[in-house]
């Protein structure tokens, strides 16, 4: 509908300027990682005088990076796989079966969005200990799945309700296909747009959650990157040019992920999921 007019060009330039200002904090974060402390204090916004990678080498070692990154991948990939599978299954069931029981179940899931998990933390802690899941990745993964289910179910359920035609399933059913096959072979592929959204948002969420690992993983060897960052903010860390690379290293894989997945994100979180 729009042609590229002069007005659009002006808008574009203004937006580019705005975007540049908007990203200053991130520029600052990145640029500081290459500086010496003195350099960082004397001209915080300038390019580094002598680019130094010493900060990175030190941070890399201090964080035990490769090993801890492995933990992050285990936890994030497993949690997201679990969230996607279980919430898609549950959402499908909740859309196609609207019994009283299911309505109550859905309501319970929605209540979950309103409750900060810190509220029942002691009871949750006891529960995890009783199940023998303390200090294990399994425990953290199950908790991550649990606390991300409500939002994911909500998104997927809205999407199915508005964008997956029931007629298709009817046809499959007439062909003698059962519930599971209908779900897996017909419905699930149609869910891909919303699954992408759910997977991306949860990858960000799980990776960036440090409270759950902090509380439920006691061994350093099992910890995640953000915990390593957190260890180093302790009151005895005063060297903040060493600290900045850690912050960046902790989210670097996520930024890579974002660069590859951005088209799914920025082209809009699936519109069907908005008609809740």
């Amino acid at each position: 509908m729009n042609r590229y007019t002069k007005g659009t060009a002006v808008t574009e330039i203004l937006l580019l300027v705005l975007g540049a200002i908007f990203l200053i904090p991130i520029y600052y974060l990145i640029i500081t990682t290459f500086k010496t402390p003195a350099d960082a204090v004397s001209h915080p916004m300038g390019l580094p005088v002598n680019i130094t990678f010493v900060n990175y080498v030190r941070a890399f070692k201090a964080m035990n990076y490769i090993h801890v990154l492995g933990n992050n991948l285990i936890i994030t990939i497993s949690s997201v796989a679990g969230i996607v599978m279980f919430s898609a299954m549950a959402a499908y069931s909740l859309v196609r079966r609207t019994s009283h029981f299911n309505r109550i179940v859905f309501l319970l899931f929605m209540v979950g969005m309103m409750v900060p998990y810190q509220m029942g933390i002691l009871a949750l802690y006891k529960q995890v200990a009783q199940l023998g899941l303390m200090n294990s990745h399994t425990g953290v993964i199950l908790i991550e799945i649990c606390y991300n289910l409500p939002f994911s179910i909500f998104l997927i359920k809205s999407f199915i309700g508005s964008a997956v035609p029931f007629e298709l399933e009817e046809a499959a059913r007439v062909d003698g296909c059962g519930v599971w096959r209908t779900f897996l072979q017909i419905v699930f592929p149609l869910l891909m747009p919303v699954i992408a959204t759910v997977a991306i948002l949860n990858t960000l969420g799980v990776w960036n959650d440090f409270m759950t690992p902090l509380l439920f993983l006691q061994s350093r060897s099992k910890g995640v990157l953000l915990l390593e960052v957190f260890r180093n903010i302790g009151q005895f860390s005063t060297d903040w040019t060493n600290f900045f690379p850690m912050m960046l290293l902790a989210v670097a894989p996520l930024i890579l992920f974002y660069i590859f997945m951005q088209k799914y994100i920025i082209n809009g979180i699936t519109s069907g999921s908005l008609k809740g």
Partner: protein, 439 residues
């Protein structure tokens, strides 16, 4: 890295079973959940390099970074080959919450630094260590971890804080070491005239604000005979803070009136304050030995000495301090034998020394062990000789957490939103609550 893919692969596998099983599914479904569990419990370390000797893992938690116990951990490694001491650093800000959560759930590390108080002991979280260790340590050190004549923690080298000062800056402006608060403010005025911040302080942390006040309060009231009695009574709920400490807290506001501490500093982290001190922008800094390494790293050529915290009346001055962290044994520990071996080693001169190496300045409470005080603390000798080292909060017992309210209240005074009286009343109220809970 291979293990990374194990769980998703299992999930996909389970999924593919489901796809094929259009008709017989009830059994398949239950397997989805279960198959996920045994596989990822296998992820922990066990599968790594098989050790020739099976090491017993003992978890030890403390709020100082690994660097501050480096030598100690090395000693454990060298002397206890069959024990793997795993150090768990938890940041000071969340330490108590995290550990208490774990303890409340019947979990937690095997050896725990701190958290030993009347409540946790009464609850039975800690093992009674009296028989094995009590006679080895001086009572002055064990008193903070002793309840009903039973010892629950082993005290490490003492900590203290005083006021570090930049020797060269003092010499440059011909400043004398202050012995009273008035002299301190004279020094501060000279420094300010020359464009130097008298004292750097990270008031963003309420604990720092509280420490500053304690330094003064010890001199003016708490350190006196009457004051010590008041302090004990406060811990028992028999005395109020508002009447006893209002004069001292009002005096403390002199720091604000003289412009030594300003509202600005409420936004300053301790880390940032250190930078001001080591860069010579500020001449003084209240802290203890744990920062010495940092100072030396940041300003290797800087000459540093320390004088005690000051009061209005003069005298030898006071250090805020007491026994260092006490290490207790988790009563629910599953590896008590190994944990005892670790504690045994800690209770030898060698063990004490290994802890001290990274925390130079304090003194050991293990009988027969003495450490030399580094030269950086010459200016504080008088206070040490007079025995003027005390951390009043140690005697507050279950009312201890009220100290954080005191710190926050002092922040409010600095911000100008509360008066000293209002703050002390609020702390009293919190103390009453805490004491009532424990009845």
């Amino acid at each position: 890295m291979k293990r990374t893919w194990l769980i998703p692969t299992t999930a996909l596998l389970a999924l593919s079973i489901l796809i094929t099983g259009c008709s017989s599914n009830s059994t398949n479904n239950s397997s989805t959940k279960e198959s996920a569990t045994p596989n990822d419990t296998a992820t922990p370390k066990e599968s790594k390099a098989p050790e020739p000797v099976k090491k017993v893992k003992v978890r030890l938690s403390y709020w100082n970074k690994e660097d501050s116990v480096k030598a100690l951990l090395q000693l454990f490694k060298d002397k206890l080959p069959d024990i793997d001491v795993e150090y768990q650093f938890i940041d000071n800000k969340t330490y108590v919450d995290v550990i208490k959560t774990q303890l409340a759930a019947g979990e937690g590390p095997d050896i725990i630094g701190g958290v030993i108080d009347a409540n946790t002991v009464k609850t039975g979280y800690f093992e009674d260590l009296t028989e094995r260790y009590a006679s080895k340590y001086y009572e002055t050190g064990t008193s903070t971890a002793t309840f009903d004549n039973k010892l629950y923690g082993l005290p490490q080298a003492s900590w203290f804080n005083g006021v570090y000062y930049n020797v060269d800056l003092f010499a440059k402006y011909d400043l004398k070491i202050p012995t009273t608060l008035d002299e301190y403010f004279q020094v501060a005025d000279v420094l300010k005239k020359n464009g130097i911040k008298p004292q750097a302080i990270g008031l963003k942390n309420p604990n720092v604000a509280g420490q500053s006040f304690l330094g003064l309060a010890l001199n003016d009231f708490i350190g006196t005979t009457e004051g010590k009695k008041w302090n004990d009574d406060f811990g028992k709920g028999n005395s109020k803070m508002v009447d006893a400490l209002e004069p001292s807290l009002t005096t403390w506001t002199e720091y604000l009136k003289h412009g030594v501490f300003t509202k600005d500093m409420l936004g300053l982290e301790e880390e940032q304050a250190i930078d001001e001190f080591t860069s010579g922008k500020a001449a003084m800094f209240q802290a203890g030995p744990w920062y010495m390494e940092t100072f030396k790293q940041k300003a290797p050529d800087m000459k540093i000495d320390m004088f005690p915290n000051l009061g209005t009346k003069g005298g030898p001055g006071w250090m805020v301090g007491g026994p260092g962290v006490s290490f207790g044994l988790n009563a629910k520990s599953k590896v008590k034998d190994a944990a005892y071996k670790v504690l045994d080693l800690l209770s030898t001169p060698e063990g004490q020394n290994a802890y001290w190496v990274d925390n130079k300045g304090g003194s050991s409470f293990l009988k027969g062990v003495t450490f030399e005080m580094p030269a950086e603390y010459n200016g504080a000798q008088e206070a040490f000789k007079a025995g003027n080292v005390m951390y009043p909060v140690n005697n507050w017992g279950v009312a201890g957490p009220a100290f954080s309210d005191l710190g926050k209240g002092i922040q409010e005074i600095i911000a100008g939103t509360k008066t000293p009286r209002q703050v002390l009343e609020a702390v009293d109220k919190k103390a009453v609550e805490l004491l009532e809970k424990s009845k």
